[in-house]
Symmetry: C2
């Protein structure tokens, strides 16, 4: 299963939309996800820690995450969001490695939501303050009435394969030496997924692709991407790298990819993070 998928909560949309039903959930049975800023609070067993609604700061906005086996789950919006997601935060990576898959998915959904609220307290349309609505799945402008919804930004991430069986991977600027992954970029307004894949790969590598196919998808909560994993074919392996985004782009044989994924000493590259969809894509490709 892909990391950040498999959240056990019932999102219970019918409760979000019903003010009375939502109020009825905010009683003594309600649980509050423990967060330290945007980091997960954890108990001694390495599970997500929970408290009661009384643990939230008196003025904090509360987001209704859903029902966990019937128990209403909430999270409080922290004072600050994360304007520049710090993927290099060691506490975050330690937590991500320790949490169970179900807890990781729950944390990811909660983090994306409360971070969005913390960074969207004002109306983009008129500049006035906004208030949380629909249990935290919407914000409404207090002046112009504009409705705002949590963002989910689609990102296409693509394994580009040459006809001869080699795979093109890249190392982004600022990444650790030796770390390679699939090329990725946001799908822009006015593009299909397939068009986004072709444009991003061309921009970053100068390589034209054909026959784009979908493989798998994954939510990625830094801050709120929908990672759309694809495969595409290339007929020409000549690379013209975009040096404003990429540090290295190279082609790898099946044996080289297998060695890297097995973590072999002397492998030509370091595999992507375990939680990243790129790892899933590379395993899928090797198994195919």
């Amino acid at each position: 299963m892909l990391a950040f998928t498999g959240c056990r909560l019932d999102r219970a949309d019918h409760i979000r939309a019903d003010r009375d039903a939502l109020a009825a959930q905010m009683g003594w049975r309600a649980r509050l996800l423990a967060l330290d800023g945007l980091l997960p609070g954890m108990d001694e067993s390495g599970a997500l820690a929970w408290g009661s609604l009384a643990d939230a700061p008196p003025e904090a906005e509360l987001v209704f995450l859903g029902l966990d086996d019937g128990k209403p789950c909430f999270a409080a919006v922290p004072e600050c969001g994360d304007n520049a997601p710090r993927m290099a935060n060691p506490a975050l990576w330690a937590a991500m490695a320790a949490l169970s898959p179900g807890d990781l998915a729950l944390y990811g959904a909660a983090r994306s939501l409360v971070d969005w609220h913390a960074r969207h307290r004002f109306c983009a349309s008129c500049g006035c303050g906004t208030a949380l609505a629909k249990g935290g799945w919407q914000r409404n402008c207090e002046r112009c009435g504009a409705q705002h919804f949590p963002r989910t930004d689609p990102v296409a991430i693509t394994l580009v394969e040459h006809g001869d069986g080699r795979l093109m991977l890249g190392r982004g600027l600022g990444w650790p030496e030796g770390r390679f992954s699939a090329l990725a970029g946001f799908v822009e307004p006015g593009e299909s997924i397939e068009e986004g894949v072709a444009r991003e790969v061309l921009e970053e590598s100068g390589v034209r692709v054909r026959d784009v196919t979908y493989v798998a998808s994954q939510p990625w909560p830094f801050p709120s991407q929908l990672m759309i994993g694809c495969h595409a074919w290339a007929d020409d392996d000549a690379v013209t790298m975009d040096t404003t985004e990429m540090a290295e782009i190279a082609w790898f044989t099946r044996a080289e990819v297998a060695a890297a994924m097995a973590g072999e000493e002397g492998a030509r590259f370091l595999k992507p993070l375990d939680q990243a969809i790129a790892t899933h894509l590379l395993r899928w490709w090797l198994a195919r």
Copy 2:
């Protein structure tokens, strides 16, 4: 080819990011897309109409759409965006039917972008004014420096098929009598595409699905969706409809779908709009 795909512009990301290169494009060769509010301006031949940058209001923000056979193309941000996309606008539908596929795709991309700018003149993080940046592919806050990017909202739209070969379709509240389409909903933060499909179908119809597969995708500029077309299987056809969203949900045989798609008199339902991905999905399903 799916409507709103196949835009002929080279988005030329390297120009957006380079202030001097962008300025150099804003000369006498530049073309300005004619827009009447958010509606497309068209010439006598039914093609998109173009003017020069001098046609834009003096204070208008300009978005760099890309290069059309080397010619720089821009659009001006209108005074107002569309807070409640009026799909029932007859002028819009007439234009959509008249434009060539390439022009329709170009219009869709431009519309999504300028509409986003018109509705995002303020910083959601601090409420201060924002200024257009990167040729219109970003806005920056003038006070807190927060960066904002055009939205693309992923929507999963799903053909649900029963093991016996029937298809579940629905009629949304407010839709014309007899018009049915595939169930659809936004993919939320913390969900994969497949999880979004399963949740939406369950919420709207009470039907549980399995084996979700991806079929095709399409940008939809009202205001800026990425439609992700899927297929899923259902084992139980018992429907419990969400009456806050849906007016009718029903199962249709292959013959009934074929009759509707052929526009036969007496067909059990009216097919979706030609430009909608639902039409593509239903044709794909019949041809399979």
